[in-house]
């Protein structure tokens, strides 16, 4: 892959973008698709957010169905969903993306002091609390991909990935159903739960 020290493209956003994808049936579709965002730079400012699709194929929102989005910066989150997350293979075409309920975040607690055993992001919006926890984290690996291999198929992307052998998502203490499975990711067999740290997306020129 031809790379240059200075990427001439336009930086879109940078930050953290860990994810958890769960299955109830290992041979079926994902039963839960969830992404967390901690953005340090974007055209719409900084912020945190999470997309939790507890039933990705259902066009309904919370509380009927656990499809929800929490953020402290709605313009930023709309930008991330429209231009990035909705193009990821795990979310592309899923009815829940347009139907999920939105909530304004009132607090975010990051629990990262017990790595590599566990790592938790907690977002609250009033009485609603969502916890995403990654367990049994593996050694980090640095990656760089061009449009051919990035999740949007449009961007360059740099990141540090840490595979998690287990993960949990809970809404007000109630865990979403499903298990982490394995998938092919950057030529390796990896878990569908991962931390993605120091991640930068660039529109190539």
């Amino acid at each position: 892959m031809q790379r240059t020290p200075v990427n001439a493209g336009v930086v879109e956003w940078s930050g953290e973008n860990p994810g958890i994808y769960l299955k109830e049936d290992p041979d079926g579709d994902y039963s839960v698709v969830a992404l967390f965002f901690r953005i340090v730079l974007s055209p719409h400012g900084r912020g945190v957010g999470a997309i939790i699709l507890g039933d990705p194929d259902k066009a309904a929102g919370y509380p009927d169905i656990p499809n929800l989005c929490l953020t402290n910066n709605r313009p930023m989150m709309n930008y991330l969903i429209d231009n990035f997350a909705s193009k990821f293979p795990t979310m592309a075409g899923k009815p829940a993306v347009n139907a999920m309920s939105w909530f304004d975040v009132t607090s975010n607690i990051q629990k990262n002091g017990d790595m590599p055993n566990s790592y938790t992001e907690e977002l609250s919006a009033g009485d609603l609390t969502v916890q995403m926890t990654w367990l049994d984290l593996q050694a980090p690996m640095a990656i760089e991909v061009g449009p051919d291999a990035s999740a949007t198929k449009e961007h360059d992307m740099y990141a540090v990935f840490l595979e998690a052998n287990n993960a949990q998502i809970s809404i007000n203490g109630n865990p979403l159903q499903g298990q982490v499975v394995s998938r092919q990711f950057f030529g390796r067999t990896m878990s569908t739960a991962f931390l993605a740290l120091s991640e930068t997306w660039v529109s190539p020129r």
Binding site: V11, M141, A149
Partner: protein, 207 residues
């Protein structure tokens, strides 16, 4: 299974944020103030924050005479970064202030501003100090991927997101330190010695 070329085979040393300021009162003279801030999200000894600030790099004294300090909220991380990183950056380790610096504790870090806006700041609080770092006149974000020969240590591959800053200052308990950024060159870019680096990852060379 063979590893594709887009996965680095070298181990990650650390990853996070690493903004800095190198200031002069006389453009032809020595550095008047040197500062590096680290917000590390992963290292082998855990995450944490570190501030390296020399109010006077050429003075062989620490607090309270002079604000030459190394502050941290993770002592193991501080020692890991000192020996494995800062001591490979001669500008920061080959000055009297390095060994004389007072080692203090960080209680809290407050971030303000927006790197795509008018200013960005970090305020580091601990052990009776409130140290405010402010970057202004911010440039266009630029993604870098530097080979060892272009990095400060000369040993690592480094990914980073650079935001250049043409104006900056440091305040210690409300007292502004002297000096201004000057020009520098990195990877063929004409830059300032005040900079924000986000999503920065230091990687040992491919095995």
């Amino acid at each position: 299974m063979p590893i594709k070329p887009n996965v680095r085979t070298g181990n990650v040393d650390w990853t996070g944020e690493n903004p800095g300021m190198l200031l002069k009162t006389d453009p032809a003279g020595d550095w008047s103030v040197l500062m590096l801030f680290f917000r590390i999200v992963w290292s082998p000894v855990g995450p944490g924050n570190i501030l390296l600030l020399y109010e006077n790099p050429n003075k062989n004294v620490g607090m309270p005479e002079c604000c030459n300090v190394i502050m941290a909220d993770n002592e193991a991380l501080r020692d890991y970064i000192k020996t494995g990183f800062i001591e490979k950056l001669g500008t920061f380790s080959d000055v009297p202030a390095y060994s004389a610096s007072s080692q203090l504790k960080i209680d809290k870090v407050v971030t303000e501003g927006d790197p795509c806006g008018d200013f960005y700041s970090e305020t580091v609080i601990g052990d009776g100090l409130s140290i405010k770092l402010v970057w202004e006149e911010l440039g266009k974000p630029t993604a870098l991927e530097l080979p060892p020969e272009l990095t400060g240590t000369g040993e690592h591959v480094m990914y980073s997101l650079l935001v250049d800053s043409k104006s900056c200052f440091v305040e210690v308990n409300g007292r502004r330190l002297e000096g201004h950024p000057v020009s520098r060159e990195q990877a063929g870019l004409e830059l300032s010695t005040a900079f924000l680096y986000y999503s920065e990852t230091w990687i040992f060379p491919d095995r």
